[in-house]
């Protein structure tokens, strides 16, 4: 079979790919923002002296990390309405991705918590900070800085996983690419451009993160 490359048909729809990319990024931002809150709560629970809290955090991580994201997404979109919770496709995907990223971030923050020197925590207790004040004013800032590189990697991972929203017809980059592929039959061109956009976005995000890491001094 003869096949020669013609990118024209793909460039004609490039704006759709770009808007798809923006939707994917937005989904990842919302999900990781919520996931950060979930991950922080679960990480503090995971290192707390109370056994039930530790078990709960462990259960959350083990449950979510071992489930395919697509199953979570389909549950949120198709199954929740059955028990009276109707979310639109954006909400259900962002919710599923938030829950998913929260489990990964729990591990990231837990490692960050263990990296805070014991002596620094004692110094905070010594000047009379309560346990909560110590966690908020001393432990969390140090831990967040130490966790920044892993936090960035998790964000990149979640951005790539936003492609799975295509399965419930969210018009993000992968969904648009598939449509252009079917409409134009410019198969190689479409997937080259789509993949190139993902890679370019990942490279840009990684560079921004490195800039952020430089801006805050490492402890």
């Amino acid at each position: 079979m003869e096949y020669s490359l013609h990118f024209g048909a793909v460039w004609a729809s490039f704006d759709r790919l770009l808007s798809g990319l923006a939707i994917g990024l937005a989904l990842a931002v919302v999900a990781v923002a919520i996931g950060t809150v979930l991950g922080l709560l679960a990480a503090f629970a995971a290192v707390s002296p109370y056994r039930p809290l530790r078990s709960l955090a462990g259960l959350y991580v083990a449950l979510i990390r071992n489930l395919p994201l697509l199953v979570l997404v389909l549950l949120a979109y198709f199954a929740l309405p059955q028990i009276g919770i109707a979310l639109d496709k954006y909400q259900s995907f962002a919710g599923a991705l938030a829950l998913y990223s929260g489990a990964y971030l729990t591990e990231v923050f837990r490692a960050g918590l263990l990296s805070v020197p014991k002596g620094v925590i004692e110094a905070a207790r010594s000047i009379g900070l309560t346990r909560l004040q110590t966690n908020v004013s001393v432990v969390a800032p140090i831990m967040l800085r130490n966790a920044l590189p892993s936090l960035g990697n998790t964000f990149i991972g979640m951005f790539k996983d936003s492609s799975i929203a295509a399965a419930i017809a969210v018009p993000e980059l992968t969904f648009e690419a598939r449509k252009i592929n079917v409409d134009t039959f410019r198969v190689i061109e479409t997937w080259t451009v789509a993949s190139g956009l993902y890679i370019a976005a990942c490279v840009v995000i990684a560079a921004l993160l490195r800039g952020l890491e430089r801006r805050f001094p490492k402890f």
Binding site: A123, R125, S126, I127, L129, Q133, V138, K218, F219
Partner: protein, 257 residues
């Protein structure tokens, strides 16, 4: 005439780490303005004693009374109960502690380190906390470094910030735990001079140290600990000049080369 009530009274303090008895009944009084140094070989329990006074360690027996208040535990129906987090925090704020390894907050500037307790524990407004922090940083000779981060300071400077952080809280008592042990030799003197300065200002200090000459210079009283007990105590001149027990004499021989 009533004897004045001591600022700190430690009564029959015992502590175990598992099966190991670290403190075997320690009694010690400090009056307002006293500067007491604790000397002794490593493992004698002196650092643990300090950490108990700052309520960083739990202890199994005895009482610590600070300015008339029994701290750390309450007794009910003949049983001891560790106090809650809020009470412990309030009591810890009454003593300041300076650690061997500085333990500055790495994410805060020198001024930020001093201000944290003033803002969060004493609830002072920001401007007032800043003014107090600057005053204390000036007192330890670091006025120009207020906005430097710990990673930008030398070990000696970090330790002086830690001293300012402890003193800015206006504690009744300051605990110093081997504050020069982690320093390079050329940085030791600046920290010792700072401690000497605050002693002359009239602060009440309980010091654990390996610097015998410093202990002799600065202390009103010296305590020699050995195997979890106070083995000998007395005025500095007497402890160093005329040790009574053979054990203390031997310890001093081994530390003074």
């Amino acid at each position: 005439m009533n004897k004045p009530q001591p600022l700190l009274a430690i009564r029959g303090l015992t502590k175990q780490f598992g099966a190991v008895e670290v403190l075997k009944g320690v009694d010690l009084d400090l009056n307002q303005g006293d500067v007491v140094s604790i000397i002794g070989s490593s493992g004698s329990g002196k650092t643990t004693l300090l950490r108990c006074v700052n309520l960083l360690e739990e202890y199994q027996g005895g009482d610590i009374v600070l300015d008339g208040e029994t701290i750390g535990y309450r007794s009910a129906n003949g049983r001891r109960h560790r106090l809650g987090d809020r009470e412990l925090s309030r009591q810890r704020a009454m003593t300041g502690m300076v650690f061997q390894s500085f333990n500055l907050f790495p994410h805060l500037s020198a001024a930020g380190n001093v201000m944290l307790g003033l803002r969060k524990v004493l609830k002072l407004p920001k401007a007032e906390a800043r003014a107090i922090a600057e005053k204390w940083l000036a007192r330890v000779g670091l006025a120009a470094r207020a906005d430097h981060y710990p990673s930008q300071l030398s070990g000696g400077q970090q330790q002086r910030v830690a001293i300012a952080r402890a003193l800015a809280m206006n504690p009744k008592l300051v605990l110093l735990d081997e504050v020069t042990s982690a320093l390079d030799p050329e940085l030791v003197q600046e920290v010792l001079n700072t401690v000497k300065g605050i002693a002359e200002d009239g602060a009440t200090l309980l010091i654990v140290t390996h610097e015998m000459r410093f202990a002799r210079d600065v202390s009103s009283r010296v305590v020699f600990m050995e195997q979890g007990r106070i083995h000998e105590e007395g005025p500095a001149a007497e402890i160093f000049g005329n040790p009574k027990s053979a054990r203390l004499a031997e310890f001093l021989r081994n530390t003074r080369h």
